[in-house]
Symmetry: C2
Subunit: 185 residues, 2 copies
DNA sequence: GTCTATACTCGGATAGAC
DNA sequence: GTCTATCCGAGTATAGAC
């Protein structure tokens, strides 16, 4: 177990993201990351030139996933049905593997704002919002369409429901509400 | 300007909140706070026993405001009209003086989670959400009612609209959407 | 009661040896 | 690719001046 050396970079990202999510980005010390990997603190600096670079790398992977989605979404027409389908794919993305990372981004906004990939993620989300927005519609309509995305994201937060609802039913409920919002009821 | 003063504690809170909001809580150093006040760094420790205590004091003031609102809201009936009125008061609170603080709390969630007053604020917000929730209603209905509060909060974020809309029209739009959500359209 | 000087510890970062 | 040694800056503690 102690002889591997080529996958260290990736292992750093995994462990770091785990700790960043648990304790928050700023509260996590590189000492803790190094200890879990059983290397020393300066050794991390061979693979990443700064703490922020570790986080940046992880978010870049997320952005690549978002890029596919955004590209596809831009090609869709401005119909309610197409918008529901876009929301469905956003929900899938949250489901698949990125949910913890979305939650992290939400809780650690100050860190996200300081890294390039964080800016990139925000740009992609804004693009997604604008794809869902009917051009020329009145502001209330546009706001409802945009709110739909946040309904999906908020649906992943347990505290939004005190009600005892299993997770899959929570996300289903959020999707229903989001679909209503883009459909204009 | 170099003499001793008696309002230092309050001035610390004001300046600190300003800087915390600009650069984020963790990125703000006590050195910067002290410099703006033209005192030394250790002097801060006479008034507050830790950096987190400065933030905690500010949030306690907000919680006191929230308490009034929560107490009043609990006494309201579960009618759509009453819920719209509750949302109106939440919007007023955001308007009045607490908007920057709400924004701060959103962006600096990790810091908020570590201070007692942050927990207190979250409890109060959850109470507000539950007051807006019709007991026994189906989950979709309940989620819509809760989402209304977030519509108000999100309405304060400029980036949610690319559209060129002045701030007062943004908040008005958010209020309209929120009202629709609790009214079940 | 209000503040300054000083010092300690820990975390991020760099240089250079193996 | 990883280590030791070292630096710097930030939060914190304490002694003591006024």
């Amino acid at each position: 177990m102690a002889g591997r050396r080529t996958d260290t970079r990736q292992r750093i990202q995994e462990i770091a993201l785990e700790l960043f999510s648990e304790r928050g980005y700023e509260q996590t010390t590189l000492q803790e990351v190094a200890e879990r990997l059983e290397i020393t603190r300066p050794a991390l600096y061979y693979h990443f030139k700064a703490k922020e670079d570790i986080l940046n790398g992880v978010i870049e992977d997320l952005n690549a996933s978002l890029d596919e989605l955004v590209e596809w979404a831009r090609a869709q027409p401005h119909t309610a049905a197409a918008k529901r389908e876009i929301l469905g794919r956003i929900a899938d993305l949250l489901e698949d593997r990125w949910r913890p990372l979305f939650r992290f981004a939400q809780v650690n906004q100050t860190a996200m704002e300081r890294i390039p990939a964080g800016e990139g993620m925000q740009e992609r989300l804004i693009t997604l919002l604008s794809v869902l927005t009917t051009p020329g519609a009145d502001p209330v309509r546009q706001f409802e369409e945009r709110l739909a995305v946040f309904a999906l994201i908020l649906g992943t937060l347990p505290f939004l429901f005190e009600m005892e609802l299993p997770e899959d039913q929570r996300t289903a409920t959020a999707m229903t509400v989001a679909a209503k919002l883009v459909s204009g009821q």
